[in-house]
Amino acid sequence: MYEHPLAKYFRKGVRQPFCSGCGNGIIAQCIIRAIDELKIDIRKIVFVCGIGCSGWISTFLNVDTLHTTHGRPLAFATGVKLGNPELKVIVLTGDGDGAAIGGNHLIHAARRNIEILTILVNNRIYGMTGGQVAPTTPHSMKTTTTPYGNIEYPFDLCKLVEAAGASYVARWTTFHVKQLISSIKKGLLKEGFSFIEVVSQCPIQYGKYIDVREPAKLLLMLKDLSINKDKAKTINEKELKEKIIIGEFVNKEVIGFSKAYEQLIIKVRGKIE
């Protein structure tokens, strides 16, 4: 019988837990394809996940998964990476998980430049808890808890993480699978903190409020809303407000934290020997 070449990465008998049409399935597949293409030994990769739908991305994959508390996956992952620097650590987090309750860990992980690849799924709403406003929900949008429209403004997470010092920063949508796979590959090979924001569709919670429930339509909407970062420079700020700026924003070489710590140990031990 023919087996799908990626089937070996999936846990037998475990169903994927997402609502139909959810972007998390696309993201899971992009991660697996990137790992497969790089031929990295999957047993040396640890997935550390937050709480929220996005935290479930690795549950049906046959991989080491540490499913943590809401907002804290980066803090757990910091211990995993320092505990065994040989491991590649991928953090899967949502916009509520990574940018609201876990926002502080995000900026500090970027500042420390710890060698972790963070994939933040931005569905611009709280999926799991039933469609409440998120720190990424567009201005004036209605949600379960902004019945009169959101009076707050959304975060630009890529700018935030760039300012905090990350080594690699990129943003794509679930429409841009080729670019996403290529970014994940770069992030996996990067020496420092890598951050990839994926703007994703949530047909159930987000779809309900914009009255578009067909996943394919939502994907095309993401495509139409997206604008490449270079092209974005040529249009005015007002037009840009509604847009999702995509592209690679940072790609630099700075020593990662666990590497720096290894050097510190060598220095300290050199003095006493």
Binding site: R11, R43, K44, V46, V48, T59, N62, V63, D64, T65, L66, H67, T68, T69, R72, L74, A75, F76, A77, T78, G79, V80, K81, L82, G83, N84, E86, L87, N104, H105, H108, Y261, L264, I265, V268, R269, I272
Partner: protein, 385 residues
């Protein structure tokens, strides 16, 4: 690489309780320490930041206490013995992730050098206000191990014991020290390191093993990255780690098992210290820093012929129920001394015979140490002398 002899040789040392704690941890094998600064726990971190790199270990100052305990859990699953330390306010912040460590059966040690609270309270004065928090601070139902040192030497020995229990039972172990013990300087005798018993976690033997959770006899613990394709979750799960948050049978199974793995081994876990029990009709029962005053008072009482005995709890939780009720039910009166409003007092009452008088004695002023003469005066009043 991990040669502890590089940082200390056997001998006698004058040191602070907090330093003794850090040293005990390193000797027990601790190689990861995460911390967020708070008085009166800072000296633990200072000692760790100097000495851990010398033995190839890692000190990291995290952005808060939530991330400190989180990284400790991550490091433990990566295979290291790991610890964090804090005081009341930080301990409160850690509670959600302490629950995660309990749920995922992660060995780790948490030191709470207690100060006076609630809230920011009084940072550098001792109190024993966190006894309940240590037991019940996280939400839901669980069992946990809590140890209370009374001296600097005790802090050294109990920190090693905390790691041993934690590794053996795959449970977070809490050391409840306080500002008095943490900041006090005393002599500590460091024995030949080879004479110290060190326990390491049980590891799975074969790659096709798959039951890593919920065994009353403690399942083996693999490390991340060793090919077991682990699923570790703070959500309800079964023996293999498979998550199920819909079926009450799962949560029922889980909660009974995490209780049983501690209760079945309670005789191995709990410890108390006693003096002059044989002929005593009255007992002074205490723990932690207060036990020093209590012992002093018992000695003063003995000098004038009062038949007073001394009981010190070393393990606060699980409460040494059987031992304590056996001891106290053979006397007439018990005075429980605590630097709080009576947290262990309630437990002692719970396990004592109804005909026994149980009294509670806080210090004259909360946040100060019980004066032995004040204890004596109350003791006299209490036994009607």
């Amino acid at each position: 690489m991990n040669n502890v002899n590089e940082i200390i040789k056997p001998g006698n040392y004058l040191m602070m309780g907090n330093e003794a704690c850090a040293l005990g941890a390193i000797i027990a094998g601790c190689r990861f320490f995460a911390f967020y600064p708070i008085t009166p726990a800072n000296e633990i971190a200072e000692y760790m930041s100097i000495n851990l790199p010398k033995v190839g270990g890692i000190y990291i100052q995290m952005e808060d206490e939530i991330s400190s305990i989180a990284s400790v859990i991550g490091a433990s699953w990566a295979g290291l013995k790991a610890m964090t330390a804090t005081s009341g306010p930080g301990f409160t912040l850690m509670q959600e992730n302490i629950g995660h460590a309990i749920m995922t059966e992660t060995p780790c040690v948490i030191v709470d050098v207690q100060r006076c609270g609630p809230s920011t309270g009084t940072p550098a004065l001792p109190m024993q206000g966190d006894v309940y928090q240590a037991r019940h601070g996280s939400h839901g139902e669980y069992e946990i191990i809590v140890l209370a040192p009374s001296s600097v030497k005790d802090t050294f020995l109990l920190t090693i014991e905390a790691f041993n229990l934690s590794e053996k039972y795959r449970v977070p172990v809490i050391i409840l020290s306080d500002a008095l013990i943490g900041h006090m300087m005393e002599n500590v005798e460091i024995p030949d390191l080879s004479s110290i018993k060190i326990v390491d976690r049980k590891k799975p033997l074969k790659l096709d093993d798959s039951q890593f959770f919920l065994s009353e006899d403690i399942a083996p613990m693999p490390t991340l990255g060793s090919g077991y394709m682990l699923h570790i979750t703070g959500s309800t799960h079964n023996e293999k780690g498979i998550r199920n948050v819909y079926d009450p049978a799962y949560v029922n199974n889980l909660i009974y098992k995490i209780y049983a793995k501690i209760h079945k081994h309670i005789d191995d876990i709990v410890k108390i210290e006693t003096r002059y029990l044989d002929d005593s009709k009255v007992l002074l029962l205490s723990y932690g820093s207060v036990a020093r005053s209590a012992l002093h008072a018992v000695k003063l009482a003995r000098r004038i012929g009062l038949k007073v005995g001394y009981v010190r709890l070393i393990t606060l939780w699980p409460f040494p129920e059987k031992i304590i009720s056996n001891i106290i039910n053979s006397v007439e009166k018990i005075i429980v001394l605590e630097n709080n409003m009576g947290q262990i007092f309630n437990e002692v009452r719970r396990v004592s015979h109804k005909d026994i008088e149980v009294k509670f004695l806080p210090p004259d002023i909360l946040g100060t140490i019980h004066d032995p003469l004040y204890i004596m005066n109350n003791l006299r009043k209490f036994i009607g002398e």
